[in-house]
Amino acid sequence: MSSVTGASFTDETPGPEGEPPLRGDRASTGRLGDRLFGGMTRLAGGVVLAIVVLVGVFLVVRAIPALRANHADFFTSTEWSTSPLKFGIVQLLWTTVATSVIALVIAVPFSIAIALFLGFYAPRWLAQPAAAIIDLLAAVPSIVYGLWGAYIVAPQFAHVQSWIQDAFGWIPLFGRVPGISGGTTIFFVGVVLAIMILPIITALSREVFAQTPMTQREGAIALGATKWEMLRTTVLPFGRPGVISASMLGLGRALGETIAVMLILSTLPQGANWSWSLFNGGSTFASNIAANAPESISDTRQMGAYIAAGLVLFILTFVVNAIARIIIERRKAFSE
């Protein structure tokens, strides 16, 4: 290896990755090596592409037999039974969307505030550790959130819940549901999901807020704006697309969250009456699959029903993530 730069750099940080190809060092064989290595990286990229495409293909193909044998309308039935095959997604879709939207409504304002705190309010010595602490929330495994929510917080939350029901019970969304007691409801799951998606929205928002051009911020201050006015007129408008796409990513997380929902949310008995109440139990796509699929794991026909539910979930998250990505791309195109 004749490269001075290379030698000095690897001396500083010797890396196992860098060692092997060096032995066969002959600069003239570069072209073959380049083609091999370039091909390998392209292959890895292709593997990623292939996996995502295959997920879609396999879910569709394996869901079809169960959908054919389904005795209920997949899109309008509220039932979920795999023997006999009689399943529809309405109840799952409602619970999934309701929990995720509640999570988003709670998490987004908090995330924006915390992102502003980390970027503009926290004293210098606090900003770094505070950001690390918020990131720790993301590192807590979701099953621990589930345990904590189901066995520690839910009994406490039951009081808050009955208070809300007393005050706003006349609104159908907050109505009482017979047979559902304790705090293990859709609303509470939304609260726990909000805590779980808070770090991801905060981290991404903080990143875009930090990119606000200094000239704009200084301009606002120079014009006599208070700190809050500066944030409101420069940082928040500048960061809005970023916050929206961060929220979409958070929404995607909330839609697909499995074990925390499964541990917390009370399940409904077979044939329970439909209710719009947020203080109802239920199952999300993910929690339904995780809770019930293991029982029919040996019956591929029954598993087809769960694969169909998984397919709907996959499409939901795909769309949400794609929207987030498109918003980011559009913003990049504008700012460059």
């Binding site: 940080t13 505030a113 621990v144």
Partner: protein, 324 residues
């Protein structure tokens, strides 16, 4: 925008007001000489915003502290017993309250093995993909791959598990092995490592690459010998963060790795326990004292493991950053 707090002064034409130029420079505005009412309202708004923003941060600390306190206070006691690390859970049918039955070695070993297997599969694919995207990628294909990495990071873990099931069982009719869970976890780890590696590769200054090319070093060697080593710490950080994420995952294991009370160290045989599945299994009878201890003990072990790996990754990233 500021106009809401203090409408434009009388001398300023309305057309300038959306450039935020009018109000604040007028004497009645921020400099606060004459118009006390308005500036006090603005100052009040500013203070309210400050209080709310500080408050939001401290409210967010509550769940974190509460969770850590719960898990440590309930789970530390079984974890500190030596049997927790040395024994598995076999013989649990016998009378409870025996320290011999309070082991979690099977689950700890299972979590570590499955996590390592996942990393062994995922990290090479992820690093190569990142290299492709940063060093080779400008083609439409690269843009599609980059999009797919985003989509993959959004795939719910339970869907990844269903996919592995649909391939492994429905299509090939194989029996489920512990390695199948690792394959599902791989799908969750690849995007994490790819993105963090990508970020680090982008930070490597182009001058380094150009200097290398100018000396006649071929591109692949430039990447392996110059670019990768200078961002190796970032790759390791990404790998550790990804590992921490998949070790805490439960959903794929519920579907693909049935729980067992026995120690199994073979990824290609039988079934293997893991800490999340142990929690899930024991949570069914959490009212029984020993099950409760197992649940919180396993949760404590898991959180220590995951946070430990996470912090290690961050520390490596932090310290190497300072050096550079």
């Amino acid at each position: 925008m500021t106009a809401e707090a203090a409408p434009p002064g009388p001398g300023i034409p309305a057309k300038y007001s959306d450039a935020h130029s009018g109000d604040d420079t007028s004497p009645g505005g921020g400099l606060g000489g004459i118009d006390h009412g308005k500036s006090r309202a603005r100052a009040l708004k500013n203070s309210i915003a400050t209080v709310l923003i500080w408050g939001a941060f401290f409210i967010a600390l509550i769940p974190l502290v509460w969770i850590l306190w719960t898990v440590l206070s309930k789970g530390l006691q079984p974890v500190l017993h030596v049997n927790w690390w040395e024994k598995d859970q076999s013989g649990a049918g016998a009378p409870a309250f025996d320290h011999n039955l309070r082991g979690a070695r099977h689950a700890i070993v299972g979590t570590l093995l499955m996590g390592l297997a996942t990393a062994v599969i995922a990290v090479p694919i992820a690093v190569l993909t990142a290299i492709y995207l940063v060093e080779y990628g400008s083609s439409p294909f690269a843009r599609i791959v980059s999009f797919m990495v985003d989509i993959m990071s959004g795939i719910p873990s339970i869907v990844a598990a269903l996919f592995v099931y649909a391939v492994w069982v429905t299509t090939f009719h194989w029996t489920l092995l512990p390695i199948a869970s690792s394959l599902a976890l791989t799908m969750l780890m690849i995007p994490v490592v790819t993105r963090s590696t990508e970020e680090m590769l982008k930070l490597v200054p182009n001058e380094l690459r150009e200097a290398s090319y100018a000396l006649g070093v071929p591109k692949w060697k430039t990447i392996l010998r110059i670019v990768l080593p200078s961002c190796l710490s970032g790759v390791i950080t990404g790998g550790l963060l990804g590992l921490a994420r998949v070790m805490g995952e439960t959903a794929p294991l519920l579907l693909l790795a049935s729980y067992t009370q026995y120690l199994n160290q073979n990824l290609f045989h039988g079934s293997m326990a893991a800490l999340p599945t142990m929690i899930n299994d024991q949570a069914l009878n959490i009212n029984v004292h020993i099950a409760e201890q197992r649940v919180w003990g396993a949760a404590c072990t898991l959180i220590l493991l995951v946070l430990g790996i996470n912090l290690l990754g961050r520390l490596i990233g932090h310290f190497t950053k300072v050096k550079r």
